[in-house]
Assembly symmetry: C2
Homo-oligomer: 347 residues x 2
Amino acid sequence: MDRRSQSTTTSSAADTGSLHCIVKLGGSAVSCKNELETINEDNLSIVSSQLRQGMISEPSHGMDWSRRPGSTAIQTVVDKFDDKLESQCKRLIVVHGAGSFGHFQASRSGVHKGGLNKPLVKAGFVATRISVTTLNLEIVRALAKEGIPSIGMSPFSCGWSTCKRNIAMADTSTVVKALDAGFVPVLHGDAVLDTSLGCTILSGDVIISHLAEHLRPDYVVFLVSTADQWFSDGYYLCFILTDVSGVYDRPPTEPGAVLLREIAVRDDGSWSVLQPKLQDEVEITVAAHDTTGGMVTKITEAAMIAKLGIDVYIVKAATEHSARALKGPLPHNIPNDWLGTVIRLAN
Amino acid sequence: MDRRSQSTTTSSAADTGSLHCIVKLGGSAVSCKNELETINEDNLSIVSSQLRQGMISEPSHGMDWSRRPGSTAIQTVVDKFDDKLESQCKRLIVVHGAGSFGHFQASRSGVHKGGLNKPLVKAGFVATRISVTTLNLEIVRALAKEGIPSIGMSPFSCGWSTCKRNIAMADTSTVVKALDAGFVPVLHGDAVLDTSLGCTILSGDVIISHLAEHLRPDYVVFLVSTADQWFSDGYYLCFILTDVSGVYDRPPTEPGAVLLREIAVRDDGSWSVLQPKLQDEVEITVAAHDTTGGMVTKITEAAMIAKLGIDVYIVKAATEHSARALKGPLPHNIPNDWLGTVIRLAN
């Protein structure tokens, strides 16, 4: 059953005002893929700065007033705040993946398969949530340090749950209230209760698709890294070069690989490449390890969002191209010097 | 308006099964009062162990599988888990205060007074949440390390909000679902949205009283530390000695100070001391700094819970007496060698 046909409790889009953008922060874009539970501080800092610039033009005072390690006092910028009312900010939601946080704990215990009555699964559920909420807190702090009024919101705590891994209950009203109050909700892939399996993993990609459907942002940005690889039934989608990023027609290390700049999704779910004009049909490749549905999920979610009439940008994190995407939306005719992939509804 | 008379959305007590206990972990019992944002590791470790022993008799495998600082790998006890179904655990909720976390950020910005349109208040809201969720994560990790299936749940993320500082919306269904799934929800005092003021602080004491009213635990334990001092209109309530704890008739440093072992609360809110038999009326003392309502709130909440017919134990954290309270309930006739204060409904 498509999860969208299931019972969901959501506030209507009319309540939400105009949501500028939902940003997916790829877990591997802000964590070090090959180092367990390690933040990619440089990338996270650049991404936070780009997000702030996309939201508000002027620099903001820091909002992370935590004690720094080794210090006994808290350095704040409290005195720098004045009483003037803040400038208008664009409404933004951030959703992040797990990267090198959470995956180890989830996979070793099999949380995604359910079975909470088994001690190992229950322990893995607890361990997974500790790991992903640790990353969430670090991302919230990085955004707050930049002056973004970020608020961590765990799907589990929001009461979100699934049935057979499809969203069953995901009330967005708390997210909307946070937006209405001027905050930037920061959600994340999470371990959640599943009414059929006991528990499972709700991925950041499914969350972003659900939020896009119900809150109708102007556009959605997927900030990816070189470590991300997506595959679908039709295309080989890679981000493994150092200076370009987007969706390719084959592994970009192969000769003649072409960056797909604009993909149109039709109502029946079929795709076509609008830019560049390809002479031949692209090679159909499904990777051997594409068995869990994980990789397919990602691109399916992006297509689902595009089918709603919401443009999706897939762009490499912490580059000039991601900065432009976050200041977007981009012009309908994608500038030639912008590198990334736009997925949108076919005319 | 009493907050209980306001509209609240809660699941009925009938859905909850039997809730054994709600434990209030005083912020100053697990953090170092005079060191900003510093955990009292020793106390937290002892408290976690006592909570586990109160919940399940046999030791459990650790559930915090985070990477330790300085290590590149994750040491887990995954292989030690077997497939046997877990032993039955008593149902437990933990609520903690802020201690040396959050207070600085909240007081410097005036979050409790509201006014989210002021940049300083909004920044303070973000900073306060970062600080209290940092403490929450540390407490969840300490409990998980001990083998308690702890799940951090922030009131803000749960969608809880206030109106003029009284609880307006505090759906307990997510907490109940976590309990039903065998987890130990760990809530905390939090910055929340207020429909009248914009925002405020929802204290751990108000949260525990709300949960007690709706989920009807067998009893409630307040684990306090030497740093805690409570005052009410009628009594001077202190916990400042090193080897005894509870509610006293005057500052316990004064000659002749008496530990009040059993206090009865009547329906009209009046109190009387059942044990020990006092010859004179106790001195009425309200401390000079008791102007914010903060101290009064604490004892008011304890009395409110007792008025529901739920026994409240106030006991010093990390002592043999707290261990006995957590294995409770205590016999109706309080053992002579148990040191603490019981507040209960008058017969």
